[in-house]
Amino acid sequence: MRMCPTWAVVMLSLAQVVSRHFLPDPVMIHEPFRTRFAADETAVRRALALLLVELRNHPNCDRGACEIVVAEVLNNIVEHACNGGEDGWIELCFAANETATLFTVSDNGVPMPDLRLPPLKNPIIDGAVGDLPEGGFGWALIHTLTQTLTYKRTAGVNTLTFEIAAYSMSE
């Protein structure tokens, strides 16, 4: 039995309508980057190397600032949140647009004290050499180099989100 030509036209039109409704518009999509790894110093170093390679795809990213901040965030998780636990994991995601690089970092370690971000507190360096601090720089660097820094604890998972301003393309 042959299909009536009118039906063939109707079905073709129907296919076009369906595809128009269910396929995304052909816009540029910046694929988000996502990696998950063990909460230890060696894996952190590898994840940072991977991140730096990925950031090269985004020429206006401030790669130096991103590396400094993400390294501090990951070190804090290894040292304080997961601290030697064998099943500790970290998930690092980022997406970049023209004005900023947006990061989300999650881990299954212990929550932040008081469920809050540590405040910005610059170490005091004006005293004698013997009194210089050897730590406490991490959160100062994170706060200084980020915008819209947030922390939440949900279902046993810590999630930190932050943005790092991109280089202006007109500079």
């Binding site: 070190n75 210089l132 050897e134 720089f137 660097l141």
Partner: protein
């Protein structure tokens, strides 16, 4: 952790032959600096030309290296990468160390 040392004139130049001083190697760095500076002359110059990156642990270890110098010894820094400079500047540690853009001409033994 690879640190090389050489003596030029009345100074010791310690070159860090590693791309990073970070949480993974900060303690090792501090310990090697302690051993090297024990026998060093008064002026010690840390050449960071090979180091692309330091984190706050690495910064802490460099500060610790300064604090463990003997009386009268000084620790100066040279050849900081852009990112390393940024870490020093943002923590104001650039005001604590004497920082050189290049390894300064210290004169040589046979001069």
């Amino acid at each position: 952790m690879q640190l090389d040392q050489r003596t030029v004139g009345d100074a010791m130049i310690i070159t860090v032959n590693e791309p990073r001083i970070d949480a993974l190697c900060a303690i090792q760095f501090k310990e090697q600096m302690r051993i090297l500076s024990a026998d060093a002359p008064q002026r010690v110059l840390l050449d960071l030309g090979q180091v692309d990156f330091i984190d706050s642990s690495g910064l802490g270890a460099i500060v610790a290296a300064l604090k463990q110098m003997n009386d009268g010894q000084s620790l100066e820094l040279a050849c900081l990468s852009e990112t390393v400079q940024k870490v020093f500047r943002l923590t104001r540690m650039d005001s604590v160390f004497k920082i050189h853009a290049d390894v300064p001409d210290l004169g040589s033994c046979d001069a």
